[in-house]
Amino acid sequence: MSLYMIARRLGLTVSLLTTLVALLLTACGAAEPAAAPAKEEAAPAEQKAASTEPVDLNFVVWSYSIETIQDNISQFESQVPGVKVHLSDFSWNDYHDTLATRFTGNTPTEIAYSSDHWLQEWIAAGWIVPLDEHFPEVKDMVKDFAPYAVEGMTADGHIYGLPYYADMVVFMYNAALAEKAGITKAPETWEELTEHAQKIKEAGISEFPVYIPLKKDDPWTVEIFYSMVYSRGGKMFDENNNPVFNQPGSEAEKTLQWLHDAIFTQKIMDQSALEVSEPDVVKTMGAGQQVYTVLAKYNLAELNLGQHEQAGNFKLALMPGESHSTVGFVRFYALTKDAVAQGPEALQAAWKFLQYFGGPTDNEYKVVKRWALEKGLGFAQLPLYDDAEVAAAINKWGDVALEREQAKLARVKEGLTPWWGAWDIYARGQIHDAVLGTVTPQEALKNMADKWEELKEQ
């Protein structure tokens, strides 16, 4: 056999061996994620207890005040040794999509921020687990929480989390600028808001006095729309989750018409409202470009205490409209399927984490209170309303009495079902189309109702 042939055969053998090794490596790599939890589940508890390895908790949040979260985590870790928390954050607008990918791809996630928006969807997908099934004591804990917040974390009689914060969508305005136009009180109805805004516009104080963010890819948009419908005394769905917003002359129709007219007829709201979300509105309101808006309440703290030209001039008012009602919502810490799959040690660590962040520690809601004091976030934990420090902090930028009054009128979002999340995406597009006038409000609402039925059938 010539040297040439030997070299070729050797080359062939080496190549085949390489392929075989590559195949084996691929097979091992593919088996790893599935094998790891099985191995952990099989490991005896005592062996695990003896281990000096810290328990890893992967905690996923949307990007808001990450330094504060990181500091809370450090304090938790120093108080609960043996638990290491790994924080990941994603933009609020992309949060749902990112988490869907994360859960589907089995990226380790033991605790995640969630919202009443997605509760039923995530349960149906099997991504989160009922907290009370593993820790029944949570049922006693929620007795101290605002009912709308508990409702927002409950499905099929089970509680799925502890509140990160609970707040309301509220009406706020720049009292100083309104006063310049001779307006000394907040509008009682949406029609009165139109009159006030026109007065301010005519006085040359603001070209577009109203600025309500309605960005299509922002989950707040639908909550703001719901609030406007509720405030007129309207409903979106009945008790059996059937749409009622599409009935002729509904409050939803009036709301869409009002929004369209505000931009294109009265010209009291800038069309760019369709491309902005909360931070943009806070910036431009803070600079005095607009006077009236509808936002989550905690933004009032930023407007009055932040570095803004108009800081200190902003006031809370009851939502304009016949009923003054609004949306009360909850964002919460959810326990995921991974926390359970990782075994009892990880589950216990997750529970300690949840208690520290959303429940009482040494009879005090440490983290929740911190959010309320430093960022003005609302809370579901009612005993905090009796805390003098919290009340004083709120009164620096808001009005505790008025806030309580608005809270009494707050309602959860109607229609929260496994398909509500998908419907919300579609609804936002239709809200845009109706506001722009590419379809009539009635057509948009009919489309929204049809989509609801289509998704329900799926």
Partner: protein, 311 residues
């Protein structure tokens, strides 16, 4: 039997063996790469094909029944399909010629051996080097309807009375997205055309001049035919990008206002990640892939070969 005849009898079998062994050797050498390609391309492709034929909704994790082509018929029947397909067509028809022409124009300009053009060539690549998301955010700030830099500039020069809602007016939003895309995309065609221009022998231009050809005649008869290869690559590539563009839409408009900038890729994304309907998302992805394949074949047939062009 003579030695010569024995050798001649052996020769064909040696030849056969010689052919077989190199074939085997070649296959064995590329096998590892083939496996990787299979793992990262063929398997996902097959999986997506399987998903597209099933009812695959993430909120129903335990039931993925085979539904045949129902996902395809459902997405094609969806009102958003017609809207997004039309928007995609408009976007592609506007962006491909514009990007190609701008790229060619810039390349022709940079092909002159003037002082400082070396730096300019590097600078031209800048938009292409900026990450897409950063570019999108930058354009968002430029085009913002409330505090955008473009409106600010026009306002300062007294050219407009009110800020223009570039991204919240349905007709302006599509124009804005095309413009931002054009800015981001033109450097690659410019560089490819420039490379093509520098490969054209100067003698051809000299000969054309001797024949009395003017600037336009030289461009049509020498430059353009010899740029056929980069032109083909650019047109195919930009069409693919135009049909599948996603990132700029994601950052700039989110498909809005309403559905004014909802392209088919955004529709596929929405079906998959927002509606969590993987079956319909996969079906839409296949529709996009088929459309791309058809267009590429069409281009290859329609665009003349170098010989045809030069003759």
């Amino acid at each position: 039997m003579t030695g010569q005849s024995a050798a001649s009898r052996l020769q064909p079998s040696r030849l056969r063996l010689g052919r077989r062994v190199p074939n085997l050797y070649a296959w064995a050498t590329i096998l590892p790469v083939l496996i990787l390609v299979a793992a990262f391309t063929l398997y996902p492709f097959g999986f997506a094909a399987s998903v597209s034929l099933r009812k695959y909704i993430l909120t129903q994790p335990n039931s993925h029944p085979f539904v045949g082509l129902r996902n395809f018929s459902q997405v094609i029947g969806d009102e958003l399909f017609a809207t997004s397909a039309t928007n995609t067509l408009i976007f592609t028809l506007a962006s491909v010629p514009l990007v190609t022409l701008l790229g060619l124009g810039v390349a022709l300009l940079l092909n002159h051996p003037l002082r400082g053009f070396g730096v300019l060539r590097a600078l031209v690549l800048l938009p292409w080097a900026i990450p897409l998301v950063s570019a999108g955010i930058m354009w968002k700030l430029i085009l913002h309807g409330q505090f955008g830099a473009l409106s600010g500039l026009l306002f300062q020069f007294g050219m407009i009375k009110d800020y223009i809602p570039w991204l919240s007016d349905p007709s302006l939003a599509m124009l804005s997205v095309v413009f931002a895309h054009l800015w981001r995309e033109f450097p690659l065609p410019a560089i490819l055309f420039l490379a093509g221009l520098q490969n054209i022998p100067p003698e051809l231009y000299d000969a054309a001049k001797v024949d009395g050809a003017g600037v336009w005649a030289r461009f049509w008869s020498v430059t353009l035919p010899l740029l056929r290869a980069p032109l083909l690559i650019i047109v195919i590539y930009e069409t693919m990008i135009g049909i599948a563009v996603f990132d700029m839409i994601y950052v700039l408009t989110g498909g809005g206002p309403g559905s004014a900038t909802t392209l088919i890729s955004w529709f596929a994304y929405t079906a998959t990640f927002k509606f969590l309907n993987l079956g319909q998302g996969a079906a839409l992805s296949f529709i996009i892939a088929i459309a791309l394949a058809v267009l590429i074949i069409l281009y290859l047939r329609v665009l003349p070969t170098e010989e045809e062009a030069t003759s």
